[in-house]
């Protein structure tokens, strides 16, 4: 893993310094704040809702030698605090979140410098690792799910003025994989705990799943000087493991987005 990261970093530095493709790099720093809805029926049939925050980055690469193509790598970490959505059931809360890494390639479908409308379509592969910890369930319990998603995406942009632009995007994964290691839970309702040494990651349960992800977003961008850009938006995202084995995990999120893109 370290070697892979080192290779990635070296490649990035090489491209940045020698720039054989005359590449333009843009780094986006963003934060999604909103609320999430989740249900892991391996643990509970009840829906949980709560506040969440998802800071992340986008690194985009374009080159005049590859006209109309946009390549990007992005990553984010999401943390949420979820509570039983239908009181007066027992107060049951969970801290849950995910780590996401995504590689995306997009191509302009309709790009005309005189037109106010721009469209592009693309595809991405992403890995989402979902972790949830339920301290009130058997003292402590942890579940882990990993998804690999193959998304198709479509993006539309409309220039309001020289500075302002409206955008809308959609993503849909017709195919993915869902993976869950074995149960990894700790003891009971008393104060003692029982070890997990032998059960932590000792069973593996993975499935190829059909349509499993859909996301939409709308927003506006304000072009700053020097090719930099500030964006505001709203996004909705839904992910499901479908009925993968003995559990079904569903995660939905609503986010208000604030993103600053800086031309490197």
């Amino acid at each position: 893993m370290n070697k892979f990261l080192l290779l990635l970093l070296t490649s990035f530095l090489f491209l940045l310094n020698f720039n054989p493709l005359q590449a333009q790099w843009t780094l986006g720093i963003r934060s999604n704040i909103g609320y999430g809805v989740c249900r892991d029926n391996g643990l509970s049939p009840i829906t949980f809702k709560g506040a969440r925050i998802e800071p992340g980055f986008d690194l985009e690469f374009t080159s005049p030698k590859l006209p109309h193509w946009h390549f990007s790598a992005s990553g984010s970490i999401d943390i949420g605090y979820y509570e039983d959505a239908t009181p007066p059931r027992l107060n049951f809360s969970t801290i849950a979140g995910f780590g996401l890494f995504c590689l995306e390639a997009k191509r302009d479908i309709r790009y005309d410098s005189l037109s106010r409308w721009h469209f592009c379509g693309g595809a991405s592969i992403s890995n989402l690792l979902w972790l949830s910890n339920n301290p009130k369930l058997n003292n402590a319990s942890l579940t882990l799910s990993d998804f690999v998603l193959l998304d198709a995406s479509l993006e539309a942009r409309f220039s309001l003025s020289r500075r302002w632009e409206l955008w809308s995007l959609g993503k849909f994964a017709p195919l993915g994989t869902a993976f869950r290691p074995g149960f990894s839970q700790i003891d009971n309702y008393t104060s003692d705990s029982e070890g997990t040494t032998n059960t932590y990651f000792s069973t593996y349960d993975w499935h190829i799943i059909g349509p499993c992800h859909i996301a939409t977003g709308i927003g506006a961008s304000f072009k700053l000087n020097g090719g930099n850009r500030l964006s505001l938006g709203y996004g909705w995202d839904y992910l499901t493991s479908r009925k993968a084995g003995p559990y079904k995990l569903q995660i939905a999120s609503h986010s208000f987005l604030l993103q600053l893109d800086v031309r490197l």
């Binding site: 509970s44 009840i46 705990s193």
Partner: protein, 338 residues
């Protein structure tokens, strides 16, 4: 009109997932009953050793549940259903009550092989020492170390054991009293076993319930004795571990591990069992449950879920107790002094 557009759009977006997510279950008594029955049916690991026909259990208990049953009555029915498993790791946790296994509870008290007063007054005495979770004293003129470890939830470390060993330099062996030790943190099992190193020794095999059928398990995973810590000299003298039916869960794990140690003698009664790892969840009405979803097999393939036998059986003798003696501790001291 324009003022309504934004709130309407937001409301639509907020409700988007409702199109995809199934509605919450109603949490009715019958739904809750069926949910729990099915969870146990698919995930419980010990139907074979508990000799329970779970389908018959459904027939018996489903007749007692209807949607107009009171919350207390539902709790009672579900608790009784779970009770048929005779497993101390099975519990129902309601808003105001927690169920437990009657069988394990009764075993623990009816076959108790320790008189705490005798141990406290005549073996630990008022001058006992307390090192971490261990209470200890020297007996037979400090030639035997007596350690009382009442719960695996109490802290145990190699440093504590090393201190205890050094505190009794004349000792020829050690008694570890785990009677009525109901379990706790399995990490403490490993911590104690490091004091008696026996590398490369297979202690047990374990597997997780992995499919809906009662006999579907993951591949067996082998568990070996922990390696010693180079900073602490291994304890190579005889060790006697005392156990009874109240020795449950992590204590049963410890007892099972001891069967692979030639220098450790287990003495007393069969343990209470509890060699499965409990796993829990939530029911549609908000209550919680837990039950065992793993099983543990000895190196020779035996499933000691109902109790790990000692290497040497010995019951507490009331005649000895009447004289202020604990005949099990005395026998353990004799084994060490031999």
């Amino acid at each position: 009109m324009k003022k309504l557009i934004l709130p309407t759009l937001l409301l639509l977006c907020v409700s988007c997932e409702k199109i995809f997510m199934e509605p919450d279950p109603a949490g009715s008594p019958t739904e809750t009953f069926e949910y729990l029955w099915e969870k146990v049916d698919r995930q419980y690991a010990f139907f074979d050793v508990k000799d329970v026909n779970w389908d018959s259990i459904h027939t018996i208990y489903s007749a007692r549940v209807s949607d107009d049953i009171s919350s207390d009555s539902l709790f009672s029915v579900l608790a009784s259903m779970l009770n048929s498993l005779n497993d101390g790791h099975v519990n129902l946790i309601g808003r105001y009550d927690v169920s437990r296994s009657e069988h394990i509870f009764n075993l623990m008290y009816e076959r108790r092989q320790i008189d705490i007063n005798i141990v406290a007054l005549n073996y630990l005495t008022s001058g006992y020492h307390s090192t971490g979770g261990f209470q200890h004293n020297g007996i037979r003129n400090d030639s035997v170390i007596y350690i009382r470890y009442g719960s695996f939830s109490n802290s145990a470390s190699l440093a504590y054991l090393n201190y205890i060993r050094n505190h009794y330099p004349k000792a020829q062996g050690l008694i570890l009293d785990l009677r009525q030790n109901g379990g706790g943190n399995v990490d403490n099992v490993w911590e104690i076993l490091k004091f008696f190193p026996r590398p490369e020794t297979l202690l047990y095999r374990t597997q997780i319930k992995s499919g809906p059928n009662h006999n579907e398990f993951s591949p067996l995973e082998e568990v070996y004795a922990p390696r010693s810590d180079d900073r602490v000299k291994p304890f190579l003298k005889p060790v006697v571990v005392l156990q009874d039916r109240g020795s449950y869960s992590a204590t049963s794990f410890f007892s099972l591990c001891c069967l692979s140690y030639p220098t450790i003698t287990t003495l007393g009664d069969t343990t209470g069992g509890g060699l499965g790892l409990p796993n829990g969840g939530q029911l549609p009405n908000g209550w919680y449950y837990r039950f065992s979803i793993t099983r543990t097999l000895s190196p020779d393939g035996k499933n000691y879920e109902n109790g790990v036998p000692p290497k040497e059986y010995l019951a507490l003798d009331p005649a000895a107790t009447a004289l202020g003696k604990d005949n099990i501790i005395e026998r353990a001291a004799d084994i060490i002094m031999q």
